[in-house]
Symmetry: C2
DNA sequence: TGAACATATGAACAAGTATTCATATGTTTT
DNA sequence: AAAACATATGAATACTTGTTCATATGTTCA
């Protein structure tokens, strides 16, 4: 660990004071981490178009039912998606419009850059 | 892999057609993944307050110089930050305002939720 | 030129994670 | 009630990744 330069300590303290709390930063990192996986972002992109049952997602993503279910549970635990049962099938959808908006922001950032 | 229900194939095809390309989705996931780490998001939050040299970041984050440098190189490779040299020190800053905006979006999402 | 300083980087290790396989749960149909 | 279907879930494995340690690079100062 480097030494603290006296002339820097002011900047450090000021920055510390203005930054969001450690708790908020950690939670935000967790949020981005959940979105930062190709399978999960494909699921979210699909659900942006409307609710969909698990088997549809499997067909669409060309992935195992088990793999899809595992990722759905991660997304649900993070409250990014919700589900409802209709007969034998379970339909998933984005938890709120906010999620879709953040997704769009990321996508357009990539498209521009 | 589940069987394809004929009555679902229409929804699947339509969703596929409306979704962003595989390439875009993968790149977007990579972008979110980079932001989705506590150390890196702390660095970004600090740099949101203004440019800062590596040793300041080490003091602020209370982390090893090596660990900080490694994460800085990840952030730079993803074009989220840039740097300039001034004498012996190297100052890092956000690559553009867009990055700070996305960070804020994520933070406020967490603060609300 | 050599010493001191600031930062970068390669290798190694520990910890985390996405998928697979096997199986369990819950629903409908016969 | 049993069979068929849709989804969930635990364990195991292969892969990824963040940090540490040691060292290299590049700059300034004496």
């Amino acid at each position: 660990m480097a030494e603290i330069h006296p002339e820097h300590s002011h900047i450090i303290e000021q920055t510390k004071a203005n930054m969001p709390s450690e708790e908020i930063l950690v939670k935000t990192a967790e949020f981005f981490k959940v979105v930062g996986d190709p399978t999960r972002i494909r699921i979210l992109a699909a659900l942006s178009e409307g609710e969909m049952c698990v088997c549809c997602l499997c067909d669409l993503l060309e992935m195992t039912q088990s793999a899809v279910s595992h990722q759905l549970s991660v997304l649900k635990a993070a409250r990014l998606i919700k589900n409802r049962r209709e007969g034998k099938q379970i339909y998933y959808s984005l938890d709120d419009a906010h999620v879709g908006a953040i997704l769009c922001t990321g996508i357009s950032h990539v498209e521009e850059g």
